[in-house]
């Protein structure tokens, strides 16, 4: 224990240097934690699952996908027609509706992008909104909104960030002037909100409300259908029990003559996300293989520089300790321990602080990519920090520690004594 006491005393020798090294470590670990969190989240999203697979049906040749709403009824059964064919265990259908609540259209913060779907599918089909994923209080909050949405045709559930941007609260009304369905401007009643986190920027309304407005459009437009009529269904999600069922459902849908104009494709949500992320491939590759290693190398150099200066200052002390009988490896361990304490402690404070600040205070990292509006720091980040800090400290302290180990006693004294 006295040996450790010597380590801590040496760190307090130059408090400013120790604190600056720790602070530099914390900043770089913070950046690494953010980058790895986004990468880990995307890796998980693109990783194929083996059970309870979500398949997504989209238009085959066009982006954005725009299918006839009539497809929804056929797709929810997985196009199963004959005995022995597989039906999905759950489904949801999406229609995207975007517009602004600013009548003049000049305030960008008033833009709202909402997903129309079946309200009863919110807790069963949307990720991380099921009862097992939320606390009791959060699930109750969600279901309160879902139940109201079921009873309120023009209801809408807004995430916390959307409520703030619109400067509204639950119970208020908003009117959206549409930009992707011009002429179909809808008024909504805010009936609920999402638990804080991933869905802070989301908005969900009832798909049948939009469909009714689309059907009513000719009544106010001289009997002329809306230009987008018959092309309002953007995505259909199907839940299947395993990959074998997915293959069967995909085959059923692909072979079905009901989906020929336009034709559709079926893929797992993870592979569809992977396809979507293809455009970001170079950016993500750079973040993973250039940015992260560069940060780790810089961190090692920072620690190496600080420890090397400290070792040079203490050359005669190390020589004295050798005279007193300390082994060279004991001096090596002393120096490495000093670096490790700074690296591990600063790393833990940084990643732990990042976890708390991002997840609990900020509610996630805003990073709109694919269908994800926010990224959360995974639980694993709690050990990333100490490990990154520790390993870079070890790497950075190795050369100075070897220098301390190899201090020549006789050489030092001949310099000192003349």
């Amino acid at each position: 224990m006295k040996y450790f006491g010597l380590v801590f005393r040496n760190l307090s020798r130059n408090i400013l240097r120790t604190l600056l090294t720790a602070f530099g470590t914390m900043i770089l670990v913070f950046v690494v934690t953010l980058v790895w969190s986004v990468l880990a989240f995307l890796d998980q999203a693109t990783q194929a699952r083996s059970e309870k697979i979500k398949a997504v049906v989209t238009e085959r040749w066009t982006i954005p996908s725009r299918m006839p709403y009539a497809y929804a009824n056929l797709l929810k059964d997985g196009a199963a027609r004959e005995a022995g064919e597989v039906k999905p265990i759950d489904y949801m259908s999406w229609t995207f509706y975007g517009g602004t609540t600013d009548a003049k259209g000049q305030d960008p913060t008033k833009f709202l992008f909402a997903i129309g779907m079946e309200p009863e599918k919110i807790p069963t089909m949307l990720d991380d909104l099921d009862q097992g994923s939320l606390s009791a209080a959060d699930f109750a909050l969600l279901m309160e909104g879902v139940e109201k949405l079921k009873k309120t045709r023009n209801g809408i559930i807004l995430g916390k960030d959307r409520l703030n941007a619109q400067e509204k609260k639950i119970g208020d009304r908003i009117k959206i002037t549409s930009v992707n369905y011009r002429g179909i401007d809808l008024e909504f009643e805010i009936v609920g909100t999402f638990p804080a986190g991933r869905y802070d920027s989301s908005a969900i309304y009832r798909i049948d409300y939009f469909n009714a407005a689309m059907e009513a459009y000719p009544q106010t437009h001289a009997g002329v259908a809306h230009p987008s009529a018959g092309r309002t269904l953007n995505l259909v999600w199907l839940m299947v029990p395993d990959s074998a069922a997915f293959n069967k459902v995909a085959d059923q849908i692909t072979r079905s003559p009901n989906f020929s104009n336009p034709s559709v494709k079926v893929e797992t949500s993870s592979s569809s996300i992977a396809v979507f992320l293809e455009a970001y491939r170079d950016l993500l590759w750079g973040a993973r293989w250039i940015l992260s290693p560069s940060i780790l190398l810089t961190l090692s150099l920072i620690i190496s520089n600080a420890i090397a200066i400290s070792v040079r200052e203490r050359e005669s002390e190390f020589a004295v300790m050798k005279v007193l009988g300390f082994r060279p490896n004991q001096l090596l361990v002393l120096v490495i321990l000093e670096a490790l304490i700074v690296g591990v402690t600063a790393g833990f404070i940084s990643s732990g602080g990042t976890y708390f600040l991002v997840n609990k205070v900020a509610g996630g990292i805003p990073f709109p990519i694919a269908f994800f509006s926010k990224f959360l720091i995974p639980n694993g980040a709690l050990w990333w920090g100490p490990v990154v800090g520790g390993l870079t400290a070890l790497a950075g302290s190795l050369a100075p520690a070897l220098s301390a180990r190899s201090v020549k006693v006789a050489n030092v004294f001949s310099k000192v004594n003349g």
């Binding site: 040996y3 010597l6 307090s12 020798r13 007193l324 009988g325 006693v409 004594n417």
Partner: protein
């Protein structure tokens, strides 16, 4: 080679040591032989480069000779490995430096305790030995002070306490009064003489100071790596 009566504590036989300075080979010690008796206070004098500090380092086990043998307290140290020497040094040698070389981040107590951390002792045993050493040098009331809070003479006393805390056979002192004023230097020399008299320590002291040399039992004069002469010190005791 010197001829003396009594138990020989340090025996140096035909020791040669050469250092390389760039492309030049410097023979610092040349076939040197010397005996030091147990309980003897021996001074080492000579011009710069005569090999005094090198002889001190060899006897203290800080370096090994190129040839010859060195025996200290019955142990043949000239053939020991670096690891064996480190272990041997902790128990058998106490070193007093010209510039004290106390660790500035440790208190006087912790500095004196430092060598004991390498020995299998309980914390209570270490504490007792440190207190005893500090009492011998008269600094038990300053044991919580850091070196920066002590005078030069007090720091050297702490250095001496550190040198004796392991109860070594031999104390080697490299110009222990070189950085002190006359009053402090006298106090340190008094302390060394006391250690020799009451604790029967064998002390080997390198010095340029004739007044310090006078406090020893005898003086070895070295020049160009060879023993020129040994003579009793002119003492006023």
């Amino acid at each position: 080679m010197t001829q003396s009566a009594g138990t020989i504590q340090v025996r140096v036989r035909d020791v040669t040591k050469t250092f390389r300075r760039g492309s030049e080979q410097l023979k610092v010690l040349d076939q040197l032989s010397v005996d030091i008796l147990e309980g003897q206070f021996l001074g080492l004098m000579g011009p710069s480069g005569s090999g005094k500090t090198t002889l001190l380092n060899l006897i203290a086990g800080l370096d090994t000779p190129d040839s010859g043998s060195i025996e200290v307290a019955g142990a043949e140290i000239s053939k020991m490995s670096e690891s064996e020497l480190a272990s041997w040094r902790t128990r058998n040698i106490g070193f007093v430096f010209q510039f004290y070389h106390l660790l500035p981040v440790l208190s006087a107590f912790d500095n004196v305790e430092l060598p004991l951390l390498l020995l299998p002792m309980s914390a209570a045993q270490r504490r007792q030995q440190v207190l005893t050493a500090l009492q011998i040098v008269g600094l038990e009331d300053r044991m919580l002070h850091r070196p920066g809070q002590l005078s030069g003479g007090q720091q050297q006393r702490v250095g001496i306490a550190r040198a004796i805390v392991t109860d070594p056979a031999v104390i080697v002192a490299d110009e222990p009064t070189g950085d002190l004023d006359a009053k402090s230097a006298n106090e340190i020399l008094d302390l060394l003489v006391e250690l020799k008299s009451s604790l029967k320590k064998t002390i080997l002291m390198v010095t340029h100071d004739p007044r310090a040399a006078q406090r020893t039992d005898s003086i070895l004069f070295l020049d160009k790596g060879r023993l020129v002469t040994e003579m009793p010190a002119f003492s006023s005791k």
